[in-house]
C-alpha cells in the first residue's frame, strides 16, 4: 500500500511537470532540454527558504515558484527571440550551468551530496489536489487566447506576426507558465521525498517529459497525462526485468512513434462533449447492430 501510494504520488508530481512541458512543447512548439532545471530551482529555492531560513512552507513554495519564473524570464529572453532550434540549446546550456552552480554553492545547496532536511510537508492528497488543479489550469490555457496563439505560432510564426500576434511575448508567456508548473512539481517533489541532489534534474529528464508528451498524443493534454502515468508506471512494473526494462521501455516508445505517429490519443481530449460523442457512437453502434 505504502509502495503504491508512493509510486502514485511520484507519478502525480510527474504529471504536473509533464503538463508544464505540454504547454511549452505541444502548444507552443518549443523544445526545452532544461525544464528539469526549473524543477531544480523550485526544489532548491523552497528548500533553502524553509530549511535554512526557517520560512513556513506555503510562502516558501510560492516564492520559489516566483523565483523560477523570474529566472525563467531571463533564460527565456534569448530563446523567444531567436530561431526555434536554439531553444533546446539555450535551455540545455542553462541546465548544465545550473547543475554546476548547485554543485558549487555547497554552503547553500549541499553541493553534490544533495540537499536534505526538508520537512515532509507533502503527502498524497496534497499532490493529488495540486495535480488536478494544474491540469485544469492547463486545459483552460489551451482553450484561451494564449493557447490559440501558441498553436498558431507553432505552425507559422511569420503569419502569426502578421495577424498581430506578439510572438516573443506569447512564447514567453507559454515558457513562464511552463516554468511555473515545472518548478511547482519540483517543490512538491522536494517536500515529498525530503531529499534532492543535482543529478536528479539533468537534460535527460527534460527529454523524458518531451517523450511523454509525444507518446500520449501530439497535442492532447489527456494523452500527455495518460502517458505520464503509463511511462512512469511501466518501468516500475517492469522492475523484475532489471537491465532489460529500459530496452523494453524504449521499444514501446519507438513502436508508438513509428506505428501510431499521432501518439496514443492523437488530438483527442477528455471533455464532456467528446465523452458524450464516444458514448453516442457506441450507442449508435449497438443500435446499428441490433437493427440488423
Amino acid at each position: 500500500m505504502q509502495f503504491y501510494l508512493s509510486v502514485l504520488t511520484l507519478t502525480l508530481i510527474t504529471i504536473i511537470g509533464v503538463a508544464g512541458v505540454y504547454v511549452l512543447t505541444s502548444l507552443a512548439g518549443m523544445f526545452s532540454l532544461g525544464q528539469a532545471a526549473f524543477m531544480a530551482i523550485g526544489a532548491y529555492a523552497s528548500g533553502i527558504l524553509v530549511v535554512k531560513l526557517n520560512w513556513p512552507f506555503l510562502p516558501a513554495a510560492i516564492l520559489a515558484v516566483l523565483i523560477s519564473v523570474i529566472i525563467g524570464f531571463f533564460v527565456g529572453l534569448p530563446t523567444v527571440k531567436l530561431r526555434r532550434d536554439y531553444i533546446s540549446l539555450v535551455t540545455l546550456g542553462f541546465g548544465e550551468a545550473l547543475t554546476a552552480i548547485l554543485n558549487q554553492m555547497t554552503g547553500l545547496t549541499g553541493g553534490a551530496a544533495g540537499f536534505s532536511g526538508f520537512p515532509k510537508v507533502i503527502s498524497f492528497p496534497i499532490v493529488l489536489v495540486a495535480a488536478i488543479i494544474c491540469v485544469i489550469l492547463v486545459a483552460f490555457f489551451k482553450k484561451s487566447k494564449y493557447g490559440r496563439q501558441c498553436i498558431a505560432l507553432k505552425g507559422d510564426e511569420l503569419a502569426a506576426k502578421a495577424m498581430g500576434i506578439n510572438v516573443p511575448k506569447v512564447k514567453m508567456i507559454a515558457f513562464l507558465f511552463s516554468v511555473a508548473l515545472v518548478s511547482l512539481s519540483g517543490v512538491l517533489y522536494a517536500f515529498y521525498v525530503t531529499y534532492v541532489d543535482p543529478t536528479l534534474f539533468g537534460w535527460k529528464l527534460s527529454g523524458e517529459w518531451v517523450i511523454m508528451n509525444f507518446f500520449g498524443g501530439v497535442s492532447s493534454l489527456t494523452g500527455s497525462i495518460l502517458s505520464a502515468i503509463i511511462l512512469t508506471a511501466l518501468p516500475e512494473m517492469l522492475r523484475f526485468l532489471s537491465d532489460f526494462r529500459m530496452v523494453f521501455y524504449a521499444v514501446v516508445v519507438l513502436l508508438v512513434l513509428n506505428f501510431k505517429p499521432a501518439g496514443l490519443l492523437g488530438t483527442w481530449e477528455l471533455t464532456p462533449k467528446n465523452v458524450k460523442k464516444l458514448f453516442q457512437k457506441k450507442k449508435e453502434g449497438t443500435h446499428a447492430s441490433s437493427g440488423k
Partner: protein, 397 residues
Amino acid sequence: GNKTETSEKKETETETTEKTETPETPETPEAPDTNGTASSGDTIKIGALQDITGKTATLGKMIQAGAQYAIDEINAAGGVNGKKLELITRDTTGDVTEAINAFTLLATQDGVSAIIGPPVANIGLAIAPLSEQYNVPILGFAIDTAVLQNKDGVTYKNMFLFQPSDDQQGAIMAKYAINELNSKKIGAIYRSDNAYSLGLVDGFKSYLSESGSDAKIVQEVQFTATDTDFSTMLMKLMNAGADVIYAPNYTQELITIAQQARAVGYTGPIIMGLDAAPPFASLAGAASNNVIYINNITESEPKVAEIMEKYKAETGADATNKFFLGYDVVNILADTITEVGEDSVAIRDAVEKLTGYEGLTGIISINPENHQPQGLEMYIHEIKDGQSVMIKQYSAE
C-alpha cells in the same frame, strides 16, 4: 479488504507507541507478532537495497555478491536458529526516486529483518529520513556521515555505517601524506559533482588543518562528469609545485588521471582512496606505480585471499573490497539474529551495541551515539612495479 486495513492500523499504532518510547526501554516481547516488518515462516529475510543497474552498479553488485556469498556459507552450515537466510535484492538503479520506491518495497512488503544499505551517499541521504518511519535497520556503506544524522544532529535510529566515514578515510590519507611522505605541498584533483569525492576531500582538509602540520593544499582542481581532459588540470597542480597529488575519485577516473599525469610528466606519489584497490594497478599499468591507496581489506590476510580465490574460481570475477563489506555485514547480522532473534527492532538495538566484531574489513565496533564504526583501521598500500604492497594499518584516531 477489511482485514488488511485493521492490520495496517495496528502497524501504525505500534509505530507511534514505539516512537514515544525512550531508547533505553527494552522492546516489548510481543513485538514480533504485531510488527508487520518482521519476517515469519521458515526463512529469515534480509534485504539488499543496492545499485544493481545504473552508473554505480559495479559497487552495488559487489556488495550483493559478498552478501550472497556469506549467506550461502551460513546456510550451508545450517542457517541461523534453524532457519535459512534469504537475500531479497531491490535495485535502486542509482536513482534517488527509484531508490525510494525500492526501499518502500523492502520496508513494507518484503518483510525483511534488516537491510544492507546502498554504497552511494546520495541514495543513503534520500533514504535516511524515510527510514525513521519504519522499523528496519539499514546497515550501509555510504561514507557520508550526513546519512546517519538529520540536520539537527540527531542520529537516525535505523541508519548505520559499516566502514570508515569519509572524514575518517580522508584523515587516514592526510595522516599518511604528512607522516610518511613528509609532504608539504599537496595538489588535489577531484570531482565537484560527486559527493563521495567531495567528502574525501573535506575529510582530508580538516585533518590537515587540525593536525597543525605545515603541510597544505597548494592547489586544487575540480572536474565534472563530462570532462575528458585532465592534463590541463594536472599541469596546474604541477605548476603550483605539488609534491603529492591527492586524487579521491572513482576507479575509471583514476585510471585516466594516473595515465595523463604520467603522460604530462608527473612522477611523484599520488594518493587515492579505496578505488585504487585491485584491479586498478593491473588496469592502469605502469602509470600506477607510486600510487598510494587505502583499502578495507588486504590480500595478505589469508582468509581474504582464500575467499577471493574461491570466488574467482566459482564466478570468474574478482572480489573487490565492496564484496567483503557485504560479507562482513551479513555475518554480523547472522550473529545478531542468533543472539536476539529475527525481530528487526531487536536487531537494531543489538547492532547499536556491537563491539569488537572481528571481520575481514577490520575490528568493528559501532559507536551508539553516532552509529559510525569506531577506530576502524584501514590498510595502506603502495603500488610498486604493478604490485600492491601493504604498508601499514591506520585508523583515523
